[in-house]
Symmetry: C2
Subunit: 332 residues, 2 copies
């Protein structure tokens, strides 16, 4: 049994299809009695408007109201917080949000964007994996709004946090604590922002006349890998007295393992994380970290997208760069 069409509703209610459509879209144009009759028919038949047909007809105004939010990994609290912020802003403006995972795969990213494109979504907020200028142009050509999260590029709107500054602040704080043998812990696949954090930290360390920034690269940015990093740390010829982790999850795992191994945090090793996820407060040693304004980031990105969608071709691309902030707790 195929879904009911507007025609059957019209027949049932004894009116024309145009009238049914009016009841659906401009009820004030229809006399009350007719309206009720049509509504009753809709109810009885369980009619649901076929969005495909609707959108087909109105090529431009009919653009879907949903935006896609594409992130690499929906299992990562940082990503979900950003997405959440974006979704809230979109909802407020009466739009819906679809979340999609690119899974760190350029191939899957391509496929997902194609899906959004085919569905004629209003736009996409994306933490890009393989997305280049060509693809962005193609998306635009088909009328979609594109906003980059956490990455920059020419001729696009984007919202990002200044990660170099973040790395800078983190290293500066450790140095201020008198820690000079610093290590940086990161994980693969290493997102660009993590590289930038490292660069910021390395720069600051060099400027202060410090030694080399030892880098430990783990297999992922997870607590389990943080523990592994702690063990690798112990095997170093000389134990660093300050560690900067590319994210909080790594830091939490690292701290817990250090404590198990009898190393004092922050006495022996000061540890600073990045992100300020909710868990940071509730860690064994409350985590000193660099707060990323995640929700705001998502929020700003959504505003950019809405503006771009509304302004049409008059639009001029804008960029928002938010500054991270040091949150001092106990681990450093």
């Amino acid at each position: 049994m195929p879904p009911t069409s507007i025609r059957e509703v019209a027949r049932r209610a004894g009116v024309s299809v145009g009238t049914v459509s009016n009841v659906l879209n401009r009820p004030d144009l229809v006399a009350e009695a007719t309206r009720d009759r049509v509504r009753a028919a809709i109810e009885e038949l369980g009619f649901v408007r076929n969005e495909s047909a609707r959108r087909l007809r109105q090529a431009d105004a009919g653009r879907a109201r949903a935006f896609g939010i594409v992130v690499e990994d929906l299992t990562n609290p940082y990503a979900t917080d950003v997405a959440r912020g974006a979704e809230m802003a979109l909802n407020e403006a009466g739009h819906d949000a679809l979340w999609l995972t690119s899974d760190h795969s350029a191939e899957k990213e391509r496929r997902i964007l194609e899906l959004l494109e085919e569905q004629r979504a209003a736009g996409v907020l994306i933490i890009p994996v393989g997305l280049g200028a060509t693809e962005i142009d193609r998306l635009r050509a088909s009328g979609m709004t594109v906003v980059l999260l956490d990455h920059s590029a020419p001729d696009v709107c984007f919202a990002q946090v200044d990660h170099v500054a973040g790395g800078d602040i983190a290293a500066g704080h450790l140095l201020g604590l008198g820690r000079e043998r610093l290590a940086f812990v990161t994980g693969l696949p290493e997102p660009l922002p993590c590289v930038e954090r490292r660069n910021g930290a390395a720069r600051t360390l060099a400027k202060a006349g410090g030694g080399e920034l030892v880098t430990l690269t783990q297999n992922a940015l997870t607590p389990t890998e943080g523990r592994a990093a702690a063990r690798r740390l112990m095997e170093l010829p000389e134990l660093p007295n300050g560690v900067f982790c590319a994210n909080d999850l790594l830091a939490i795992g690292l701290i817990n393992e250090l404590l198990r191994l009898g190393v004092g945090v922050p006495e022996d090793v000061a540890v600073i994380g990045y992100d300020d996820i909710e868990l940071a407060t509730s860690a064994a040693v409350p985590l000193t970290t660099i707060r990323q304004p995640r929700r705001e980031l998502g929020h700003e990105a959504a505003e950019l997208a809405l503006a771009e969608a509304a302004e049409g071709k008059r639009h001029r691309h804008r960029q928002v760069v938010l500054t991270p902030e040091l949150v001092i707790r106990e681990s450093a």
Copy 2:
């Protein structure tokens, strides 16, 4: 500039629209030279097939290949893991997954389902908030597959974990450790599964002739609220010696705060969580917990959905109930 249509491609390539369509859908029917010419035209014009029109034409076969995954809160690692499992299974079968948040709101849930319905999605896997039999019927009537996650209902496919058994196991383990003054910590809005866990635990405690199961209800199921629960615990007339938390996040916060307050875990208070999230291993005191087969749950649900979608009206609803498992670490 409106997106290019198949007609313009046809004109550019000097063929008929039917041929372009054939290149798109049954390339083997088209002579190689023509095919190349059409493909070149597609490339040059940046043509993207209008999915709305495509689906409009083929009312049944044209059902979208995407499934919706609707959860209450995408910020919760349990939910994202389940969704992840489902997505992987769907992807393997060549389908896409859209994640959507109902935000614990029946109203938003309704809206989201409407969106999926209008887009003629293939189906939906959902942790229901306000979804009742009526709505399920309506979704079905419009051809969608519905599978419930973590909830049961008559006449629907669902996949769930036996939470009563989980509560049972948790309480049994604590009792076996000689702990008899038990507390249960949960949070609002309290999902049904948490209620079931509590019931299982209460039943087991009663059966063992134990006292009352003290229940602390916090404002959320988060680590921060876990810490608050720890403080409330200390104010009780008599400190429980065994605590069962409705999820791991609560347990992690609770343990960290207890340690800060000088209470030994597990010596003074044994703590058991629920979920076995990744962080459980890396907690300050590695967490004893009830493992939920989250990925499997999602996976099974996806299989059910795919089966239902494939079998059509011959389909008979099936249920999958997975059993949780005790994971003993150090906190209890």
